[in-house]
Symmetry: C2
Subunit: 491 residues, 2 copies
């Protein structure tokens, strides 16, 4: 269903100028994908350069009831920035100004289209950092990070984006421009509108600018790699490390398959083990961090680690992180013809810390039972599990297996008191399971959505707010994708 | 205007039993005050013991359009739990069960009426702590802390309550019981309903239970006290300390008047100085903290501190904190006949760190100009300013001065880019200034309020949601209170 006619196009040209509009099919194709297997063509891509232009575009879309989907770097793993019903794809990448850096006040004001990488490059000149090292750090924009409430590799210490946003400029679905919060480190005036928009994935308005808290770059970093024969030992060590008060910046874990693949691929010479744990720790100086490194190493040894390495050499730290950061490369070389499809909706369940070992083993079993290859990485300090499965994407039966496993895993995660999404948010790909997760809270969300966006123009078809399936009104990058498990009806 | 008739009372008795209802005037009086000078009589006090009872009470109130005001420890400094329009005072203090402690998962599930002090007493048996040491720690309940998004003395390191709440049980204004978030350390499924209720001060529903993150009790604590001839030097030192990466748990500052009063009263033998800065630091052990203590001391010396003390002796740390924690006692002994009235709406403005010295001096001048005695304490790591003024509460002219100064200070805070409330929230006492702070955001808040509570039964008359004055429909503890500056109309 087309929503953009000649008149709308003319209006858009009037707002942003011909040079800030894409309408050729080949150009539009570039905006039809993210990191999911879904495919949704926009009808037009618009690049506003100012908040007033965004406001004018939103007003136009609202008047004409045109879907409008904001997009930053397009690095979402949830389909959140795919234009499910066509309409306007609103690219924020030309709103990329860093407006103010206040080193003495520990904040920065930046537009939504600023790349995280760029922000940190510029902050580094002031010896400052915005400490969110998400997997997509090279590609993602601040707006995308905030809209999805992203969480970096070192979120154990540094929390989610939510914890670092002081103020937001937002264009509401009616075109009104608001500024939430305040440019100070603490603000507590009534309802937390800032956090209403953080994580709303573009469904309540367009985030155009943010004031972010920043901090001094840590001066000393070290890392510990520990190998365990049994994941249960690792789990116990992890809990002891969190309990110890050693305040690491992250605790990561990979399963045997990831460790083995990386060991083989990168010739790391790590021991063969059931699990590998990497603990990072940072601080102002070596003397204040060193005692804590020793404490963490002691814990690992006491909890039966077969081998523990510790280092503050950047090249060694990089080596410790190879299995975690390059698991996709390592595994895909070993599974010819198979492609990492994430795990559909199972990208980031979060479980209680005491259940990590149990859950990782159960997931391995479930995927194995379904004949699927899985690599598992865990943000073990907070309990977020990242399984990654590899299938032949041209084989319909493999898609079916993946979907059956997905359903079983989600049910299992709920049965152990976990959440279906600890990190990536819902977007498109987790819609079938949002009701299971949220129950009647979904109705409350729908009411808030309707209150702010009665015409449902802002990123429709996401979060389960209007439709509770993910496979209608979308295309799929692979023709073998199986539409419906129950009916076996093919796409 | 009475809202409670015989029939309503009978219904309430049916829900909670005769023993859980207060209706005698003397009893009701105890619930008519908090830490503000306001006075609002409830018509009945009800003590539910279960969430289902809360739900039934709220349904009844909603059906009969009766105001319902939740109350925890009654320790609010904003008037947030005063029953402005009478009706039902819902005391949560009998919902005081700690339901589950999960030391390995680092969370606790507790009902809203649990005292913070009690929670920490019980957690200490597990070597755990909920690290929010608010000024009212002896009296406050978890529900009250969460409803106001409180911030403790060590919030520089430990953030606000917001950062520690994983899940909430809330009774909505229609009586529905919802559970937000998830009992895991990271949850990111759609809109952040948890943080919509945190800080909503009982206007969107009744918080009945929460899952809170907890941590291991820090094993080593130390404190540094530094004295500066000029507050500008102190300000520079504070910024350097934050920049240093030494990661203290708090940085506090008091002005000369507070320091002098405490010095005289408690015979502390501290140097006479324009300002005193106290830096706390904690961690897992002495070796990892010690280098950071030395760094902080070095910074203070380099930034021209006339005298710096450091200690890890509890008695010394207590001494360093005396001016901050007992300023009211020290000052009131020196201002016979004058009472600390906080500063009306000016209890907790927050300003950029680089402006602390400028703001403290300006506030001293403003209050002095109006002939008022003021003591100032600052959470200097985050920029929250606590001025405290002392007046003869029986003297109408003094109230007038206080109100004139309040208005001037609020205007000044906004002019330097600050917020009117960084910590305590709005409640009743800051209502006249919420529009100045929020602009049109207040309209968005009103819409959310109406969406959830169309009959305006939940804590009406607060946050500026329905009325934008604070002096109608209330009584005042002092007959000399002057109602209106402009018209000079007396209460």
């Amino acid at each position: 269903m087309k929503t953009i006619d000649v008149e709308v196009l003319k209006d858009l040209v009037n707002i942003v100028g011909e040079e800030n509009i894409l309408k050729d099919e080949v150009d539009l194709m570039c905006y039809s994908r993210d990191c999911t297997p879904y495919f949704c063509m926009p009808e037009v891509v618009v690049y506003p350069e100012t908040v007033n232009e965004v406001s004018e575009i939103v007003k136009l879309a609202n008047r004409r009831k045109i879907p409008i989907t904001p997009r930053g770097g397009g690095a979402s793993v949830t389909g959140s920035s795919l234009p499910r019903y066509g309409g306007i794809l609103l690219s924020l990448v030309k709103m990329n100004k860093i407006k103010e850096i206040r080193p003495e006040d520990f904040y920065v004001i930046a537009e939504a289209g600023v790349l995280l990488k760029k922000l940190n490059e510029i902050l580094s000149k002031y010896d400052l950092i915005f400490p969110h090292d998400v997997g997509s750090a090279d590609a993602c924009t601040l707006g995308g990070l905030i809209a999805s409430n992203a969480h970096g590799h070192h979120g154990f210490k540094y929390g989610c984006i939510r914890d670092w946003v002081l103020s937001l400029e937002v264009v509401l679905p009616n075109g009104d421009i608001i500024r939430t919060g305040s440019n100070v480190l603490r603000s507590n005036c009534g309802y937390d509108l800032t956090r209403l928009f953080i994580g709303s994935q573009g469904t309540l308005g367009v985030i155009t600018e943010a004031t972010l808290r920043v901090m001094t770059t840590p001066k000393y970093k070290a890392s510990i790699a520990a190998f365990f024969d049994r994941i249960e030992y690792a789990n116990k060590a992890i809990i002891k490390i969190v309990s110890s008060g050693a305040e690491p910046s992250t605790i990561e874990l990979v399963n045997r398959f990831v460790l083995k693949s990386a060991n083989d691929e990168f010739k790391l010479n790590f021991p063969d083990a059931e699990t590998m744990v990497v603990v990072d720790i940072d601080g102002d100086s070596e003397p204040s961090v060193k005692p804590r490194i020793e404490k963490i190493i002691d814990i690992c040894i006491k909890e039966k680690s077969q081998k523990v390495y510790g280092s503050d050499e950047p090249s060694e730290i990089e080596k410790f992180w190879k299995p975690r950061l390059y698991l996709d490369l390592a595994i895909s070389r070993r599974t010819q013809g198979k492609t990492n499809i994430g795990c559909l909706a199972v990208t980031d369940p979060c479980v209680p810390l005491s259940k990590i070992a149990y859950v990782v083993k159960a997931l391995e079993e479930i995927y194995q039972k379904h004949g699927l290859i899985v690599g598992i990485a865990v943000h073990a300090g907070v309990g977020i599990i990242h399984p990654m499965i590899y299938i032949d994407v041209l084989n319909r039966e493999e898609w079916k297996k993946a979907k059956k496993a997905e359903k079983e895993v989600i049910g299992f995660i709920k049965s152990v008191g976990g959440t279906i999404t600890g990190e990536h948010n819902v977007g498109l790909i987790k819609i079938p399971y949002t009701r299971l997760e949220l129950g009647n809270n979904l109705e409350l969300m729908k009411k808030i959505k309707t209150l702010l966006d009665p015409n449902n123009i802002m990123n429709p078809g996401k979060l389960g707010l209007d439709v509770e399936d993910r496979d209608s009104s979308v295309d799929f990058a692979y023709p073998s994708y199986c539409l419906d498990l129950e009916t076996n009806k093919e796409k």
